[in-house]
């Protein structure tokens, strides 16, 4: 028991304590140095303002969450088949891979205004920005995973005259799952950033919009509240992906622990 207790203290109490200490220091510094509220508000003011705006904030949080998840979902729906095509067909690999890399070298912030022009100010444009930043790690990691199947297992399947489809379902895809999930973990965080970037460029909804409009009215406390909600969303989404990974490939988590 004492050992697990000390581990609990190390893993949870220590970082939580640090966070609380930082917040207290912040509050004290705010009061001692009399920092203007519109520049950096005190934690207490942020909490009060966030509470005041709670119903509106929840609405906007939903919008950003929807854009993020839809963009993320789309990037899986497009990214995984693309990865399969790249791994199975050398011609497609040579044809597609350079293009995918090129799309990645275009800064998404730069094309966001153009996307808005094409898709309008609604949620669709944010969803597409989220998709564009999220699909790359999914394609690359899934393709790497599919290509990482040991040659021997493929030889074994071939010698048993197993169909390509069966080999894919029983060997290659499960083998690639840990790679796929590491791509998902990067992608979910990027999707959220993409959605917020899309909101910055032009929207009347979402937490990105709240941050932009709050700062233009010098309401830094509300902006900080929205930032806090965004971080919370990012952490929860990441943790959910990690949880699904543990459920889907428990063997991998167990191997990591060894």
């Amino acid at each position: 028991m004492p050992r697990s207790l000390s581990r609990f203290a190390r893993d949870y109490l220590l970082p939580t304590g640090t966070l609380v200490a930082v917040l207290v220091l912040w509050e004290v510094a705010y009061r001692v140095f009399k920092i203007p509220r519109f520049i950096v508000p005190a934690p207490s003011a942020i909490i009060a303002e966030t509470w005041e705006w709670r119903f509106r904030l929840v609405e906007h949080t939903w919008v950003t969450l929807y854009e993020t998840l839809a963009g993320f979902g789309l990037s899986i729906a497009v990214g995984v088949p693309l990865a399969v095509l790249i791994v199975y067909s050398p011609v497609l690999r040579n044809a597609l891979y350079p293009l995918i890399v090129v799309t990645q070298s275009v800064p998404k912030v730069a094309i966001a205004p153009v996307l808005l022009l094409v898709l309008g100010h609604g949620e669709a444009s944010k969803l597409v920005v989220a998709f564009l930043v999220a699909f790359f790690p999914i394609v690359v990691d899934t393709a790497t995973g599919l290509a990482a199947t040991p040659e021997e297992l493929l030889d074994l399947s071939r010698s048993y005259r197993t169909s390509q489809l069966k080999t894919f379902v029983k060997v290659r895809f499960p083998m690639a799952l840990p790679f796929f999930f590491s791509g998902l973990k990067v992608a979910i965080t990027l999707a959220l950033i993409g959605a917020v970037v899309g909101e910055f460029v032009g929207s009347d909804k979402g937490l990105g919009y709240i941050i932009l409009s709050a700062t233009s009215y010098w309401k830094a406390d509300l902006a900080f509240g929205a930032i806090f909600l965004l971080s919370l969303m990012a952490i929860i989404l990441f943790a959910l992906v990690a949880l699904v990974e543990r459920i889907v490939c428990p063997w991998y988590a167990a191997e990591q622990q060894q």
Binding site: E152, S159, Y160, K170, P174
Partner: protein, 260 residues
Amino acid sequence: MIRLEKVDKTYRTRRGDLVHAVADITLDVRENEFVTLVGPSGCGKSTLLKLVAGLVPASQGTIRVRDEVVRGPFPDVGFLFQHPVLLPWRTVFDNVMFSIEMLGLESRSYRARARELLSLTGLAGFDTKYPRELSGGMQQRVAICRALIHDPGLLLMDEPFGALDAMTREEMSLELLRIWEDRRKTIFFVTHSIPEAILLADRVVVMTPRPGRIARVLEIDLPRPRSVELEFDERFKAYSHAIRSDIFAPRTDREYATLA
């Protein structure tokens, strides 16, 4: 059982270089014979196994297995590789059954056999463990069961104990001999360990470096069942010496040539 006639294999690497892997291989392997293939790295030993399995086509010559010309992969083989390559998400038992599933056979009729093989290889009671919970040697035993479950006539082994430590390696060699004596099969076994090649084999095929050619085929006239004690036997030493000189003599000749 296996008949290789003037088999030649040249392949192109991804970079486009031509590699002459094996040249002019003529060899007969009898039914239920244990043949080991020994030679330095890069003498095309693994290529030869893939040729016999029909995984790669020969550039020249013919390969027959049971009087049929090999034109592609055929399922009457069991494979053992240097690494166990088990599926980490499957239990030991399900890893053994992997062959049955991939072959599209009725699982139910092989369950008892899987258990029997697991106890034959000393893995009884480990059915529900996962590969990560086993040592390297035990994982390779699971791979042996996977290779034997569909009762193939031919076992192709590519340095199966090469990744194990010396002690486990010796133990596994004897274990393999015990299994083989229990249920005879034709085994084609690649190794770069000369003592291992002699200890296991009815005949040792000695190969020279690239392109791999057969330097000598040595009948091993040692009593079975064998034990590691045999390594101190004079005949064992003589075989070992003969193989060593076959492998290294041509190389030293060439080295002298380049020096001159």
